[in-house]
Symmetry: C2
Amino acid sequence: MKALKIPEATIVRLSVYSRFLEQVDKKGIVTISSGEIAEGVGVSPAQVRKDLAYFGEFGTRGVGYNVKDLLRHTLKILGLNARWPAVVVGAGNLGSALVSYRGFRERGFDIVGVFDNDLTKIGKRLMELEVMATEKIEQIVKQHNVKIGILTVPASSAKDAANLLINAGVKAILNFAPIVLSVPADVEVRDIDLSTRLEILTFHLCLKEMM
Amino acid sequence: MKALKIPEATIVRLSVYSRFLEQVDKKGIVTISSGEIAEGVGVSPAQVRKDLAYFGEFGTRGVGYNVKDLLRHTLKILGLNARWPAVVVGAGNLGSALVSYRGFRERGFDIVGVFDNDLTKIGKRLMELEVMATEKIEQIVKQHNVKIGILTVPASSAKDAANLLINAGVKAILNFAPIVLSVPADVEVRDIDLSTRLEILTFHLCLKEMM
DNA sequence: CTCACATCGTGATATAATTAACATTTAGGA
DNA sequence: TCCTAAATGTTAATTATATCACGATGTGAG
């Protein structure tokens, strides 16, 4: 396993491959080629092989990949051989939706705490959880050894919320607030900016209109 | 305005710039340099100038950019000089959250319809809207000339839902379902895969653990 | 056993994106 | 008016990513 720098796009595709392999495995298929994976997820066969090559040799020349093996390897690479506890800060519409989002649980993520500092929200039940005051973040994060925080607060309180998470020991933040968080070097942040995603689409719609 | 191929990353950054400029404008600041924008959004000054250069010359050498002017230009480039009607298919937790998401409205997007084929959800009120059967998609899309669809249905029904949207005339889809949609060439799709986003984080958490 | 075929892993090549460097232009003061 | 400082727009260099092409290896038929 080479310790080279791995493109983020490779990680994203690896996640897609692994989910595709889960489907394939469920169908009882034992072996699969890079071409079939490529077909299934909409990339080139060479891309599939290149992505996998960053992490080792998982296939057999002339044959292909063993589905179960490759699935296990991809999950391992992504760190999904264990479950990950996570907390959500911001119990608005989006935060509440994420607490109940089944997709997270299916991929190994367990939401173990939801926080807000809006008094009208504290105490509200979401699934088996109860919304807590943000002062409780530290306690819960330490108790469950949480490394992942999901930020669904308004932009104006995102910086504060992020600091609470980081001080409590969180090392990775999924940020839905449309602002740039500045965090220590040992904390990973990825943004999901919903409006920006739509704006990519409007940009392309306009481009086409002009032609 | 050069008709060159523009990197998607440039569009994403343009969206970020424009939101940053809104803040700056609100503070009453009249002029800004590429360096200050860069500082504010966490990229390099050269990157800011390069991104803008794809679309024209908006600054004055030795001076910088007029904030209001540049804001107007960036919004125009993204197609945000007009409002965009959009529909949401899938009235589960995520879909419901997006209907009420204020960030969309603030950036010019109006949700004009929410659909589901779950009878227990049809008729439910979300904001000023009422969840409708998916058979109504075509009617609403045509009535409001909707070009943008947001897909928040489970993976298993995503393909069907996408087809309903496309047949009704939608040309751009924001897909939250964790599957690869295959669509006609004149339809733009962008995926937001929430689990994948978390998996990027777990990958990096594991990487660090190893070192 | 050998051959034809399928398919991987990878080094070489091509393409794309970012960063750096700089010539050019403007503002403002002596 | 001329000089300095600031900051753009743009070309060139660098770095990163994706594609291609092919040698290597395993399978199965004859």
